[in-house]
Amino acid sequence: MIKQPINILAIGRNGEIMQVMQRLINVPDKRTGRAVTTDEEAIAACREETFDLVMLCAGIDESAEAGIRQQLAQINPNAVVIRHYGGGSGLLENEIMMAMAGRQA
């Protein structure tokens, strides 16, 4: 049984897409979350609250991903970190379900 609401942090560089993500990851009684565009905002958010899932969106390169993962390992070690594909698309629900079920495509 997956606990709800799931608290999600989405990090990506495309501000317009992250606005859409902000809307999509917040579903009453099911999910809460924040969408940010900088690593600094992401780390600050992780210091303020505990996230179940961190979604790395477009624009996050391997170097940024490594940095975020390193910081998260210290601040929020239980968060599941995954890549999000598609920009708030039809894959979002699937990705969240898979991540929370402990599996990934």
Partner: protein, 239 residues
């Protein structure tokens, strides 16, 4: 050793939104089947029917190669890259969404429904500059043989995506036999029957059935009906 998994048409996911009916070969949106997530780099194959005058409003995508193959009717495409196009039967549209694209796709016809395949492939490289392409296919080159509508660049017969993928489309007469040779060792082939019936490596497939093939160096295809139309999607199995 080759492995085969048949995806019968009636085992696909289905979403009915009134204006859109979508049959989903892989998990998508509200359809979640842990045994049908992806086939290698192939992540989405939606068989969509859009009501006249309706469509997908402006919405974003990123880091995905999105291929649309109209089967009947036409879609009106607009995006924030500056493209305004109509893509219809006999054409293929490709969006490499990379760092992000906003687009809309509406049925170009106010009355008639439009049918198209919406296919998503994981990109080989993340965060590329978004691109749009649209090509008209030479129908004569699809008669009783496969036309590589998508292949690594340069592809003079079609177009390309940012992945080592080949999409082949052919329309065959009953009894016609073809052998498809896999381009890269280790790639898988997803055979999707658009129209008619085929026997592929001994597996009988009817309209909208699919066969997921792994580990084969070549695939033997026999058309079992006239005007049988088959889409072969060859992709890396490690996305």
């Amino acid at each position: 050793m080759s492995t085969y998994i048949t995806h019968k048409a009636d085992t696909r996911g289905k979403a009915d939104h009134g204006w859109l009916t979508s049959f989903q070969s892989f998990s998508f949106a509200g359809y979640y089947n842990p045994d049908r997530i992806n086939f290698g780099a192939l992540r989405v194959l939606n068989d969509d029917i859009v009501a006249g005058g309706k469509g997908f409003g402006i919405h974003p995508h990123d880091n995905m190669e999105i291929i649309s193959i109209p089967l009947s009717g036409a879609l009106e495409h607009r995006d924030n890259l500056g493209n305004t196009k109509v893509v219809g039967e006999g054409e293929v549209q490709v969006m490499s969404t990379g760092t992000g694209v906003f687009h809309s796709e509406y049925n170009h016809n106010a009355e008639e429904e439009a049918r198209f395949l919406q296919i998503w492939v994981f990109p080989k490289e993340l965060n590329i500059t978004p691109q749009y392409d649209q090509v008209t296919l030479d129908q004569a080159k699809m008669n009783n043989r496969f036309l590589p509508i998508i292949a690594p660049a340069p592809n003079k017969e079609g177009t390309s995506i940012h992945q080592d993928a080949w999409f082949n489309l052919g329309v065959f007469d009953a009894g016609r036999q073809e052998t498809y040779t896999v381009n890269e060792p280790g790639h898988g082939v997803y055979a999707f029957v658009i129209d008619g019936s085929f026997t592929i490596d001994g597996h009988r497939l009817d309209q909208r059935d699919a066969l997921a093939i792994e580990g084969a160096a070549s695939v033997n295809i026999i058309a079992e009906s006239d005007k049988a139309r088959l889409l072969l999607i060859e992709v890396p199995m490690q996305p």
